[in-house]
Symmetry: C2
Subunit: 551 residues, 2 copies
């Protein structure tokens, strides 16, 4: 048994059954070994960013990691952005990076580069180059154990070609994960004190705390003790919709987040970090926690958030309080000329049961949360690390993890282009994904940001950097070029029909929604002015304005 | 004047007049500053790998670096593969990587990652984070000086948002580059001795040694003293065709390269490294220099190759020997059903004067060298670092560097998909590029490599990893979706017509050549057998066979 075959068995024994790949010569023995292991499914991608984003989406939904198979440092580089998103989302991924044979490395051949250095950017917890065929599988078990720990991590195992082709591979059994620690009594007592102090308290939930049953326990406490319920701005996976607790996401715009948090005196983190603004802005604070607010940590990402919440429920005596659940409620289907808001409305109106929504719609998705709040229960996946190009690859992975659930990916035109190659894998694997591309021919969010950072009156060259006209992309043709059925529409009726059709026909579909920018003209010019005014407005007015801007 | 404005002036003063960009919020002040500097042209790309590959192609043809503008560690990651190709090709590139404001970094916001660590992979010689607005421009001058040195390098300047927006920027003048050293007398004497020893000698030229007048001087010596003339396997830029010296490239397949080098007793490196095989193969040597062959270095990549060759010409008394030049000669246009070989033939038949050929055709381009050997003089750009996805971005950069020269890029279908977004920039900038995509629906080279690495009989899953059927990509639709005129053809007549039309009509064109795999069926099965037989064949037979496989 060679190294690659032993590794393949080790992966399958550990429950890693999918490998998202883009191989080269140095990975050929691993590729050949695929046929030695019936439990392993290999999914070919045409670009490494698709492979890594698919592994991310897969693990978010499957709860267990997939492997990637990438070709040396350059392949890893191409996959880095979506591994970054996985890292920030605390999502487990096992990277297998093929390398030159150990004795070939010092010769500095064309593809030679420092792989470990690149990997450290996304795998601070585990980067290892397998040194021998005999020890390869124990290296792999260490990597898997690290990836699966709490918090989930991107673990990178570098696999030299001669370690892969060498004979004497010995599969290793998986290691049992140690039970993660739970909040200790002192921590619970301090938080109980804070909650009973009568001062305004809020939970900020992230990661594991957003999944059931943790989410229900948090909602129970919220109802029992009048604690507000916030969710981190970009949740890894958020179950929501009718029959689940409604939870308010922290806003992307720092000014709005400050309004949300303004009255909070005790912020209780549960597998979430203390909120900071996405970017820095001249003259503005980056930390969003208001002055005088105490930050408590019920569970760090390395702790068991669900068990810690159970303990807190008991300490507060909230066990008999039911979690308030969102009632079913849907918008009607939209009419007239298509806008981004109407696309969100149609998604809310037509969302099937048990869907997975992937939101990389940036400015075009502003109303998505409101429009789907009472729709049938679904999971929401968002852009955890801010590296755009996540949505379509995530859809590949989510659909492979959950073949019986419809996946609906809402993607901005700019974002879609980073990893547009994902469409081919959607077609090849015939995945049940409806990709909705908002074509407003603009990096719309950057037009907003250009104003917000105070870069002054932008000239022709600057504006051209944010503009995707000349030529306007045609996503219908791009999709058809990769074998995905596609429709382009600029009417609500056309969109409704295309969406119904996509949801009722197996396989992938793309709907290109031709829409104007959500924030354009007067709205965009007013926005920085409104944001600046926020801190001086009375709280109720500010909150109402906040809901108007980002509901 | 803020930091960004001062930086913009510093770049322009140093002759950096093009910036290939894909900006985000942290780069907004740099973007706004574009309009403050009329000498700076900004070229927007939809994916960072296009920006970096364009900067590479630009510098290869312009001889001076362009800047990139990328968004934090993830943007750099997306651009890494083509920066790797630039590094391996010793091509100067100035990376400007936007970062969070310095005070925002410790907050670990969503897009925070370790940029310097990623950058070291491609910029071992220069990675610096600008620490203040006051010192930004002297940092930039250091970066430019490093990039422009010998050898050319990828220099990475990390630009925090507050350094960019801060007031008090002070432009700095460029530094004069020190004159690079020339081969010393002892080195010249040793090489003269070797050449006069009567033992078989060969030059291996790379980098600067392949440009005029160095190339002509090497050819002069070759003719005068019976020295063979080899060129590295993947030259950064090779002027060739009628009226220039013909030079034999080292073969990609190690077995064939060994045949080329077998009789050499003195290998003289001029801005080239001692040849090694591209990948390692079980039981085969990675170093290609035959046993008993002495390796001499006339000029390292840090030395002046041209001046060193001038000195050697004088020492050998070869000054009056004319360099043998390639006579004009062209194939006829092909007929019948289209094949990859016929595409190469058509390119040879129709190549216009002063073209730039970019070769990322992998197996489909096997005959390109032969078919264009006597075509009108042109420059050839190749895949220096082996990271595929280079060709289309290189075409963007080359066309911007040389707006009056036709650019013809030959790209494999697999390769094209890594950076297919380049087509949009070709359309937006209306560049005179003819992109020829070989659609054989396969990672054809990997089918060959799978056999060569001895991975055994591949099963269904393994073969599927190398196969691009189901669905077959439609590059005509992909091109049209990005605004590029495109034709798909499977006949030689159709190809000839499409190529003539593309060359006679301004702006970008794509020709999708539907071809069978160059190495398929019996040919591919025979190849590993022939390669294994090579060392046991008589030299003349081996050489004839080598020419048959890779002419």
């Amino acid at each position: 048994m060679n190294g690659a075959q032993a590794l393949m068995k080790t992966l399958a024994d550990a429950g890693i059954n999918v490998c998202f790949s883009n191989p080269g010569t140095s990975e050929m023995h691993f590729v050949a070994a695929l046929d030695s292991e019936p439990r392993m499914r290999a999914v070919l991608t045409l670009f490494e960013g698709v492979a890594t984003g698919a592994a991310d989406g897969y693990a978010r939904m499957a709860g267990t990691p997939a492997a990637t198979l990438l070709h040396l440092g350059c392949g890893l580089g191409n996959g880095l952005a979506n591994l970054h998103n996985a890292r920030k989302g605390k999502v487990p991924v096992l990277n297998i990076i093929g390398d030159h044979a150990t004795y070939h490395v010092p010769l500095d051949a064309q593809l030679q580069s420092d792989i470990e250095t690149v990997a450290r950017n996304v795998s601070p917890g585990f980067v290892r180059t397998a040194r021998s065929t005999a020890s390869l599988c124990s290296d792999a078990v260490d990597a898997i154990t690290c990836a699966r720990g709490l918090p989930g991590q991107v673990a990178t195992l570098i696999l030299p070609a001669d370690v892969s082709w060498g004979e004497g591979g010995t599969p290793c059994p998986p290691l049992a994960a140690p039970a993660p620690p739970v909040a200790d009594d002192a921590c619970i007592a301090a938080i109980v004190d804070a909650i009973r102090s009568g001062e305004p308290c809020a939970f900020l939930l992230g990661g594991q705390a957003l999944l059931e049953p943790a989410l229900l326990d948090a909602a129970r406490i919220a109802a029992h003790s009048a604690v507000k319920l916030f969710c981190e701005v970009f949740p890894t996976r958020l179950p929501r919709g009718a029959g689940l607790p409604a939870i308010e996401r922290i806003a992307y715009l720092a000014e709005l987040a400050s309004v949300q948090l303004r009255d909070t005196r005790h912020l209780i983190l549960v597998d979430a970090k203390s909120p900071v603004s996405f970017f820095a802005y001249p003259g503005k604070k980056s930390e969003l926690v208001p002055e005088g607010c105490h930050v408590h940590t019920l569970a760090t990402p390395a702790q068991d958030a669900a068990a810690s919440l159970v303990k807190l429920v008991a300490a507060l005596g909230a066990g008999n309080t039911p979690a308030p659940l969102q009632a079913p409620q849907r918008p009607t289907t939209p009419r007239g000329k298509l806008t981004a808001a109407k696309v969100c409305k149609a998604v809310g109106a037509l969302l099937p049961d048990n869907a997975i929504i992937i939101d990389e719609a940036i400015t075009s998705g502003l109303l998505l949360g409101v429009m789907t709040q009472g729709a049938p229960r679904h999971d929401l996946i968002t852009l955890t690390g801010g590296a755009i190009g996540q949505g379509l690859p995530n859809a590949v992975g989510a659909a492979i993890a959950c073949p019986d659930r419809p996946v609906i990916a809402l993607i901005g035109d700019g974002s879609a282009m980073y990893t547009i190659q994902a469409l081919w894998t959607l077609a090849r694997e015939q995945l049940n994904v409806t990709a909705i591309i908002f074509n407003n021919a603009s990096y719309s969010v950057l037009n907003v940001e250009l104003d917000r950072v105070g870069a002054g009156q932008a000239g022709t060259k600057a504006r051209a950097q944010l503009d995707l006209h000349g030529p306007v992309l045609d996503f219908q043709q791009l999709a058809q070029g990769m074998g995905v059925l596609a429709v382009r529409t600029d009417t609500a009726a056309g969109f409704n029909k295309a969406m119904s059709n996509a949801l009722h026909t197996p396989g992938p579909h793309l709907i290109e929604a031709m829409v104007p920018e959500s924030l354009s003209g007067a709205k965009r010019r007013l926005l920085p002015w409104m944001l600046r005014a926020m801190p001086r407005l009375p709280p109720a007015v500010a909150l109402a304005l906040k809901r108007k801007i980002a509901p």
